[in-house]
Symmetry: D2
Subunit: 346 residues, 4 copies
């Protein structure tokens, strides 16, 4: 039987090439077309020598496929995808163009008017741990941002169970590949190495996405969320440390409360193939190259605060791996197909 | 005229060797004696080749000096220093043994009963930006911890001015040298490289120190402080991101409020030779090898929160540099003597 | 049909845990027993959280298996393996204990008298690219060292074809994981980061192994080999740059000679599943986490010298991956089984 | 007395800003003018926050100075400097434009015809260890390249004393800052981190410079030199490992020969303030931020080869520090003025 044909629009960025790496090795689909602008005409594994044997040419336009991934920048992605959506292809968009439900947020956060606001309600936010059932039936999946993936997974159990007051601080530390393959002084080796810094203090674009998804889990009152991303000198990985005041009386005092909290997290993620609730603070290194998210939650007893921490590989669970997880669901395949690789460590 | 003779107890750790580096080049004092346990008998610049020309032997016991720095581990430091204190030497202790005013905190946080609780009130907490005048007259200065230096400097203006409610979260990201020169799996290259993690979630020893100093600035109500340190893959540097709710009505709305906030920080640190209030989020890299602390403060308008960020070199302003700054004050010298070196960047 | 049962002696070092990672995911064998000394009694994926789901206990003694890998240190490995060899198990020894044919080399290079010198001739040096046919029939395979793997593969075609004079310089640059999981100041993060250094200048233990294998390919005259390893601040990877004078007249002048040289390398490695002859200098990063070796060869026309460069992941092709490649051959399976993963990059 | 006024042309690259860092802190000269193209009009310490207090504006054209440093790219540097040379300023050119004596080499290696070939004989190659006396009298000093500085210092004693045959291999490992502040994929963090690679295999531009200077020390026969640079993941530092056959009979056999060799190196560099002949393989880390060069020389007894290794900070002794060392000599000041800072380590 012919395998499902899949294609990648803009394979030459880091999300694109990571998609290519995973899809090349996927046992149930066939990567048949990849596009790139400046690289069109080149052989994929000349352009990316670690993809040795991929055996595809980078094209200017996407060939005929059943499923298309877009790794285009925002704004351009929607424009590129609209005709494909009309053609009835199954689409996973790695850009932000279909993540936000409210079209008003696009001018505010992304600086453009959305070209197809009606699609925003039809698009499904592709976080399987929250939206698995609708993803399965979706034709258009908006793949979550890397920071939102880590932040939402760290907080979802506590928010959903009403454990915390609606007052959340999310402090994230990301590796440099999250800034993409485009050149900038920020990602110049001699500048980024041996440096840690905060950025986007007046508001990062992943903020409305985090708010939208957490708010859905907490219908009672508006959440006040502060989200500050940081750049740390590593290639991959996001560690997210989230803080929120615990509602009094929901958990037992002392160590027993910590156990109840972990138990609640374990229950929430019990059947999740890619979420590990761990018993000590997670390391980004333990997720390197894998689709796993490690989560730890504990209590600061002095102040009665929840501390929830997640670790992911920003290019896998934070981008390409999760996109393939979504594809598997959309195609009715076992969700873990092609994604079972363990992290590579050290 | 003979230079003041200074000595370093336990020169072989990272704080010790950094002290040696600075004191070797100090124009007004003479480093005349350094001690080390296992390294006793070796030549200092054979042991540390970057100190070429230092020309000192590492001794088992401190020679005759006027000022002694201790870079011993806690508990051992107090024991070693007691006779020197009795002898009337001027002492700067880099360990935690004289930082906390309340003797009860030592068993709780450090696991030992303090051998000389009466000295705790006489010792001065050596953060010149807060205690310059008493440091000048002190015989025993407790040099602040690396995390407290960054955290207190980031928050002091806001706390002192009553800008914030007493509910503070401090999220710090430290380079690996902060864990010292003793071997551990945590600081093994292949484990620490390409990794970020949180640690000490049940309470880091620098916590009571931060609380003590900030509380002094905020006599009205008890401060609730959550402090979570993180390890990031760099050799030096601490970036501290602090969050607290702003008291309403103290600052103007919008950008004007941000300007007022920065102005208030600038005023607070106006005469400080080693604190730079900067106008964009600071980089640890910009403090590398120097005694400077870069501080930025801004407002998260969506939530009405203060975000205050500081960057230091943990081994200089966070340890050895600050110790020499204290010595300069104690000896009546210009505070910046021997500490003017600019950061080395990139 | 029951899968072949395999076991790992000393799973707690970096070669051991990398073996566990690969064998856990191997489709045709079952990892049924792993041992560790200090870690005995612990669960493997508690000890190594990135192996989530491995579901094995670390034991003090190896359970019943068909194939055993030893990741013990040299000297101890032979002692541990002798009874298993007698029992007829198939053995792949990652230590150096069966690599050298001449028992006299063990006292000289490793400081011990070999306990079973008669086995040295029976053991097969497990570099499939040179010894595939005998590996297939072997019961005892000595898995090559990481440096020898890179060095021999870089030079074998040129040496075998008599392209060069017997006067070779091998300058290797290794990531820090090559020094293992045992703690040392050399591998302490703050010491190894932002540092490059040469070591073992009076003779590295991998030297006789390189000499033995290259000499077999060059029976005419004794080879003079200088091998200098270097430590560079990365976790994984070995880049080997080898230099040797070209015999005059074997290759055409100018660019044509370069093409002939690459062609000769391509022919030599034509059927090799894990060797890629590349057309520009290889990057260690392009082999990260994979069993591939990338090789480039060119000519320094000014001096008439061959420059041959190889890149490998020291823990995969340089240790655990190659060990599994050997196992596959010994068990009559397709050589690439369980080893097809592409490198993870960036 | 008025201090000598010095200026920097193109302060915005890494050599330029490092010059600014050193000159700002130089006790005997005054940095009065700095230029930059795109950055003109900005304040120097806004552009480079680690230069806090420098208090200079970046200008489009150099103001009136007594000494000018050029940190312009090659070809442009000569063009910019010609009028200043005519005006009689003392010039230190960090570019390659006056390093090579033979004008024919410029088209071959740098792709342009030299605009003032007559100046090439007047310019002095600014390696004080070889040319101190002429530097003192020079008006135009060509500051050596970073690789040549390390390579020539490693080999000069052996070449000058005729210890080796004229057949040299130089394998250098450089930090990424050597590639400058201009953006490129090669220096993009996610590409350069966790990678080592060789480059410029068909001939690096620093090659003729190394050859010119070593040949001057070895008038008897043409030297055959292979020079291969490598990029390693660190910000600063060059480690150079040089190999050459020892002439038989010049040194004693065994360990005694090694001692004689080190003694010969020590004698050669006896009065050099910035060269340390060390007794074990040097670490780039031990030179970080300093003007020191650490050199080690030993013998590979198996092959009768010299191994000479040097470590420098590529931006200090390999660029800006050496430029200031030259300036000090040209101005008749103590050579070490403003350059005495010890390396910062770890």
């Amino acid at each position: 039987m012919a395998k499902t044909r899949v294609g990648i629009i803009n394979v030459t960025g880091y999300a694109g090439v990571e998609l290519a790496r995973i899809l090349c090795q996927h046992p149930k689909v066939q990567l048949t077309s990849v596009t790139g602008r400046s690289a069109a005409g080149q052989v994929l594994d000349d352009f990316f020598p670690h993809l040795k044997g991929a055996g595809l040419n980078i094209e200017a336009r996407l060939g005929e496929v059943d499923v298309a991934f877009s790794a285009m920048p925002h704004k351009e992605s929607a424009r590129e995808l609209l005709p494909l959506i009309e053609d009835g292809l199954k689409i996973i968009d790695i850009s932000a163009d279909f993540r936000l439900k409210d079209p008003e947020e696009y001018p505010q956060w992304y600086g453009f008017t959305h070209p197809a606001p009606n699609l925003l309600t039809k698009a499904v936010y592709g976080l399987p741990e929250l939206h698995r059932d609708v993803i399965k039936k979706a034709h258009l999946v908006a793949n979550p941002g890397c920071y939102p993936t880590g932040a939402i997974l760290a907080l979802a159990p506590a928010v959903k169970e009403g454990l915390i007051d609606p007052d959340i601080i999310i402090d994230s530390k990301s590796g440099v590949s999250g800034a993409g393959r485009s050149l900038s002084l920020t990602t110049h080796y001699a500048e980024a190495n041996e440096d840690t810094t905060a950025y986007a203090l007046s508001g990062h674009r992943h903020m409305p996405e985090i708010a939208q998804e957490l708010q859905m889990l907490y219908p009672g009152a508006p959440l006040a969320i502060t989200f500050i991303p940081h750049l740390t000198p590593m290639t991959r990985g996001i560690l997210t440390t989230a803080y929120a005041p615990l509602v009094k009386g929901k958990l037992a005092d002392g160590e027993k409360g910590e156990e109840e909290l972990l138990e609640l997290y374990r229950d929430f993620y019990n059947d999740e193939p890619f979420v590990n609730v761990v018993t000590s603070p997670p390391h980004t290194k333990h997720t390197w190259g894998s689709n796993y998210c490690h989560i730890y939650a504990t209590i600061d007893h002095r102040t009665g605060r929840l501390i929830a921490i997640s670790a992911i590989d920003n290019l896998v669970k934070g981008a390409a791996g999760q996109a393939v997880q979504n594809m598997n669901l959309m195609l009715g395949m076992p969700e873990t197909t092609g994604l079972e690789s363990l992290a590579i460590c050290p």
